[in-house]
């Protein structure tokens, strides 16, 4: 038998039948390349396992405790930085208004009350316009248009729900 099958057996670590094993042993005596493959395999198989130095678990517990302290410290520092940054942002954004308020409080209050009243007035006007439209529009739209509108909305809603379900579904074994 030529060299190739023996090399393949060794490279694939094939489980050999007794007669194949005998043939391989004969080949190993003649082929240095296959003998090297076989010896390297044997060396790996017979190598012992290493164990850590005694006290590994105790060292792990100490490391875990130290890491927790580090995490807590970084959380505290992170929280403080966040609060300081938030305060800085608030001061930066409200600074001009605060300065204006402290320089002339009466004028500032008058301006803001005026603006607030303006907003309230605008909201009331919008509400009135909306209620008029709400009363007038249904009479202008024919019943079949309502049916098309409602069916279309229902269809879109269904499509949206199916898409959500498809995209959020957890695929097993992915």
């Amino acid at each position: 038998m030529n060299h190739r099958p023996f090399e393949d057996w060794l490279l694939d670590d094939k489980l050999l039948k007794p007669e194949e094993d005998r043939e391989l042993q004969l080949h190993l005596q003649a082929c240095r390349h296959c003998a090297a493959l076989w010896e390297a395999n044997l060396a790996l198989r017979s190598a012992k396992s290493f164990a850590p130095a005694p006290g590994f678990t105790v060292r792990f517990q100490a490391r875990l405790a130290a890491q927790r302290v580090r995490q807590r410290r970084s959380q505290v520092i992170g929280g403080l930085l966040l609060v300081l940054a938030g305060l800085g942002l608030v001061v930066w954004l409200t600074g001009p208004y605060l300065l204006e308020f402290f320089s002339s409080p009466a004028a500032w209050i008058t301006t803001w009350v005026g603006a607030l009243l303006g907003i309230l007035e605008a909201m009331r006007a919008l509400g009135e316009a909306g209620s008029v439209l709400f009363r007038v529009i249904p009479g202008l739209i024919p019943p079949f248009a309502w049916m098309v509108l409602i069916s279309g909305s229902a269809g879109l809603g269904l499509l949206w729900s199916v898409s959500l379900w498809r995209f959020t579904r957890v695929t097993r074994g992915a």
Binding site: D12, R32, L37, A40, S49, P52, A53, F56, T57, L64
Partner: protein, 198 residues
């Protein structure tokens, strides 16, 4: 449910004692994988500790339907592969490091000669392993020291079974070539009418 699964579930609920039991149980295989990957006791200890820390932090993500050992060794293997790649980027040579850390035989050992031979064998094996690419090395370590099947190696290293087969095949070929080069040549055969003195 076996004892190990019970520890895992308790540890997932935050029971540190249960996780300590898991550390006790798996410290040896995890350390051995790290040692065979990195080749130095200190680096192996550090990598094994880091593996358990990462496992503890990400325990909620562990799927109890999978083997815990495979999940744990997967963390260790990926961590070591990452470290080896970083070492490579830092132009770090394991062989150079080994030379600088050369150990003399332990004179207090019962049989210093035997101890020296054992150390030589260990170093030889390490030199063989260090010649392999990081993922190939992990596949070899899992196959020979942990008796993992190709499927288990694939699960551990996030590879396909055919990729594992090809990596093992390539790694064995590389190890065989290195073994051939590192072992002395057999004596040349004597020619038919040659004197045995020559």
């Amino acid at each position: 449910m076996n004892e190990e699964q019970a520890w895992v579930i308790r540890a997932q609920r935050g029971d540190q004692d249960a996780f300590t039991m898991l550390v006790e149980t798996y410290q040896k295989p995890v350390y051995n994988l790290c040692y065979r990957m990195l080749g130095e006791p200190e680096a192996a200890e550090d990598a094994a500790q880091e593996t358990f820390l990462r496992a503890f932090q990400h325990l909620a993500r562990y799927d109890t339907g999978r083997s815990f050992a495979t999940w744990l060794l997967s963390i260790a293997a990926h961590y070591c592969i990452d470290r080896l790649r970083r070492r490579k980027l830092n132009v770090f040579s394991i062989d150079e490091d080994e030379e600088s850390d050369y150990e003399l035989p332990d004179a207090s050992a019962l049989n210093p000669e035997h101890e020296s031979v054992r150390r030589e064998e260990r170093d030889h094996l390490h030199r063989l392993l260090s010649s392999l690419e990081a993922t190939d090395r992990a596949a070899i370590v899992l196959r020979y020291w942990h008796d993992y099947s190709e499927q288990e190696i694939a699960d551990t290293l996030s590879l396909t079974v055919s990729a594992v087969k090809s990596r093992l095949h390539r790694a064995r070929r590389a190890l065989g070539s290195l073994w051939e080069r590192s072992t002395p040549q057999p004596r040349a055969e004597r020619k038919r009418y040659e004197s045995p003195a020559f």
